[in-house]
């Protein structure tokens, strides 16, 4: 993957396939240049055996195929930039109420092998376009400030009949996020 934001898009698609109703995408950057990416969903989760195998591309069998290369690619991006990847998951079979998966990856952004974050706004817009019925909370905190988008707030304004996937709404979302990123540059 050329951009870390593409890995984020890819991993979040796993949450969509897992039937998530809420997806949290969080990016936290500290003063020292450590970046922590967290993607949390309330989908059907995975059992412990599957969690063990999803990071290994050669362990992928037909039943786990929907995970495929996505996690291994994120793991690679993280480890080559001096970080690590972890997955915590509670399967629906174990706990139907609190099930879900959290994928966490860290990166040293000062590493020469750090994959640039790229266009994360594009990633958020594409996710909402693909599944406007899901609620997304996007948070990107940096030492300079925070960029935030909560689709629940937008839904409160738009009501039931207008989908977040409408082009004009997506354009508003893109504009809002871009403005917030611009403000951080000042």
């Amino acid at each position: 993957m050329k951009e870390l934001s593409l890995n984020i898009l890819d991993i979040a698609q796993n949450s969509v396939s897992a039937g998530a109703k809420n997806i949290l995408i969080s990016l936290e950057e500290d003063e020292k240049g450590l970046l922590t990416l967290t993607i949390t969903d309330d989908g059907k989760g995975m059992d412990p055996e599957m969690v063990k195998t999803v990071t290994d591309p050669f362990c992928t069998t037909r039943t786990t195929r929907k995970v495929g290369m996505g996690i291994p690619l994120l793991k690679l991006a993280s480890e080559q930039a001096g970080g690590s990847l972890s997955i915590v998951s509670v399967s629906k079979k174990t706990d139907p109420v609190n099930c879900g998966t959290t994928v966490k990856a860290t990166f040293d952004t000062t590493s020469i092998d750090f994959t640039p974050l790229g266009d994360v706004v594009d990633t958020v817009v594409v996710l909402i376009q693909g599944h406007p019925e899901i609620d997304y909370l996007f948070l990107h905190s940096t030492p300079k400030g925070v960029v935030r988008l909560d689709t629940k707030e937008l839904r409160d304004v738009l009501g039931e009949e207008i989908s977040l996937g409408e082009f004009e709404i997506l354009a508003w979302i893109r504009g809002s996020l871009e403005e917030q990123y611009q403000a951080l540059k000042k």
Binding site: D10, M69, D122
Partner: protein, 124 residues
Amino acid sequence: MKTLAELEAIRERMRGKVAVREASDNTIRIVVGMATCGIAAGARPVLNAVAEEVSNQGLSENVTVTQTGCIGLCQYEPIVEVYQQGKEKVTYVKMDADKAKKVVEQHIKGGKVVAEYTITNYKK
């Protein structure tokens, strides 16, 4: 500044339009492959170009743009499929943003398949 008040204004503008769309039966469905293979090959800008061009050409009322997973033709990604009632599915392969715009303009709006980008043309 993008405010929630602005979003409210968009809602008021759109209310009537959404109802019209639901009544229409003659829709064209454009599907972009967005699995790991598609994303790595550059599907994200293709999807955005399709969605933008559909809106720019004023086709939103009859055209839906959706995403799908891997269809097993990873070497041909980014792939865009066009479904239209009563017509055979058209599969465009090795797409980029410019090609995607051309497809929307010539095929979706103009009704003429862009043969040079189709998988049939590639496999020859």
